[in-house]
Symmetry: C2
Subunit: 348 residues, 2 copies
């Protein structure tokens, strides 16, 4: 009792496999009567196409390979969601590979995806990766490669990123508009581009609103809860202490919040706080954390959309790789509202 093939259907209908294949693929030169009877027979015999055979012959697999550091990180889970959603709607499937931030695993992943003849690869580069030979191999084989979030300009491939500069600008401007006067920033390592961009956005927003940029108010942390706490303690001990803090991302902001809460002279709402990333916890801590949303699911969708458009233009690919820069979205919650009580009363 082996699987039904197009030959079984052909036999059933006294026709040939070629006709059956064409009918099932809705080939224009097949009469609609034939198509109808083939479809009926296929249904009756419970036929399922063998994709391996189809792709071996046609060269198309309708599979998109996705390479991410870890599906356990909610950011990537969300991006995968967006990618798979678009892929499915266009008849594509997603083959998933995790790198655990390792270069070796990433190179292995690329090899596997090439062996699987994926029609394209969407990837976010591992932290550890500094050589790009595996990605160059993908380019050499003319397989569409799209990067997201952690993009590498040097590779000269399409990418979807978020506008970190603008997100930081919006966050800082919001604090200014709330009336805060001395706004500090806890940044991260400057060799990582996104952190540097956020610092630039902070500085430019201050300048645009004629606020002084004070080097004492800029800390370089290690991007963690502990680091956020430590930097904040130092900031609050300054002779001229800040009245608001923009943290480079939400975990840093969380540490900052803990330090703020422990400060004896602090009253709720006295020190403004904004984070970045809109992590899962940000809405649920007290006070709710104002932050910058990165539109993660949209990022995945746009990456998949670029892939789809590359498929269309296969014969004459665009001269310059497309780069999509997503707009960050400021999410205002209680942590940045000035001198208001933090009671949740009546909140929902």
């Amino acid at each position: 009792m082996s699987r039904t093939t197009i030959h079984d259907i052909a036999k059933e209908l006294n026709t040939t496999a070629a006709t059956v294949s064409r009918a099932l693929n809705d080939h224009p030169s097949i009469s609609s009567a034939t198509k109808e009877s083939v479809r009926r027979a296929a249904q009756k015999l419970n036929y399922q196409q063998n994709r391996a055979a189809s792709s071996l012959r046609s060269g198309k697999t309708f599979v998109i390979g996705v390479i991410i550091p870890s599906a356990e990180i909610s950011f990537f889970g969300s991006v995968i969601h967006g990618i798979e959603k678009v892929a499915k709607s266009r008849g594509y499937n997603v083959l998933l590979f995790q790198t655990n931030e390792s270069y070796e695993d990433e190179a292995q992943g690329i090899r596997t995806l090439l062996q699987s003849n994926v029609d394209g690869i969407i990837a976010s580069i591992s932290k550890e990766t500094t050589r790009y030979d595996h990605f160059l191999e993908v380019k050499k084989r003319k397989i569409p490669l799209i990067l997201f979030d952690r993009a590498i300009d040097e590779l000269d491939v399409p990418a979807v990123v978020i506008d970190d500069y603008k997100g930081a600008y919006l966050a800082t401007e919001h604090l200014i508009q709330q009336g805060f006067q001395r706004i500090a920033h806890i940044s991260g390592p400057q060799h990582i581009q996104i952190f540097h961009e956020r610092l630039r956005g902070y500085v430019d927003a201050l300048k645009a609103h004629h606020h002084k940029v004070d080097g004492d108010l800029i800390m370089y942390g290690k991007v963690s809860i502990d680091s956020g706490r430590i930097c904040t303690e130092q900031l609050l001990n300054l002779p001229q202490r800040p009245d608001a803090i923009f943290a480079v991302e939400d975990f840093t902001a969380l540490g900052a919040l803990q330090a703020i809460k422990e400060t004896p002279w602090n009253k709720p709402g006295q020190i403004g706080l904004v984070g970045f990333a809109n992590e899962a916890f940000s809405a649920y801590i007290t006070p709710g954390l104002t932050t910058v949303d990165q539109q993660t699911a949209l990022m995945g969708q746009e990456a998949a959309n670029i892939f789809m458009s590359l498929r269309q233009e296969e014969e004459n690919p665009p001269e310059f790789p497309q780069k999509i820069v997503l707009d960050p979205v400021l999410i205002v919650r209680q942590s940045s509202l000035r001198r208001k009580s933090q009671s949740n009363h009546g909140g929902k």
Copy 2:
């Protein structure tokens, strides 16, 4: 400049494709000298196996299909992580399909995976699904099917679940041991098995410790933040109000926490609280939420392990499907510690 095939390697070495294939697959009857030279030539020519061709001929794809409601839910992201990790270590890849809790999408997913000739399917059933014909089709084709978390006994297939009864028992016992006297439970809809099991665990723990089971202290909520808040307000207005609450899951617990904080007469630490699921936010709210961890990544790993063992025993499959019940892990944080100050001072 098309891709290198085994014929190219054979030509290079004046041998045949058969020998090259055997050498690359480490076939025992090939001399090690031949294997070595084939491998070298393969490397030199940058050969990558064509998996479509291989699996068309051999019938094995080394692909595991995974069906989940959504990768955006951190629980599933974490399970995928576990599955992919084990799969990769054994040379398998993961083909991902999301159902968005829809029966139609789920059936479509199964169809796609069957067409892709996956070697096995690991799935968590959509909330909407009440017919199982698509899963029966998988069984009929003798393709290993493993369910996790949302398992269906009726299908009679292997499954990995968590022991909800035990998790609830541990949570309740912990509150008893902290010295709380009147412990309430906010449950969920009883037609969903996991919620019913948690209620049973709560009741049995009370009984085992000679606590009275008071129907007034058992609420049936809708499993959401709002519902947790509403149920808690009602509980705290009882003439004989509870001094601790075990919530059916962390979002309900979060709502409960909000209600507790707003209660005027409440002092920190006076009302004990435990949740269930160890959601991403649970560690970061104030006070930190004591909860029950579901070992999500382990759940994925175990599901993948079952698949691997089924592969081994392909010829004589086990008579009864294997069921793995994972041990829940109680994570104690501040929300359940009795009459202690909630200061974070010195915490890390």
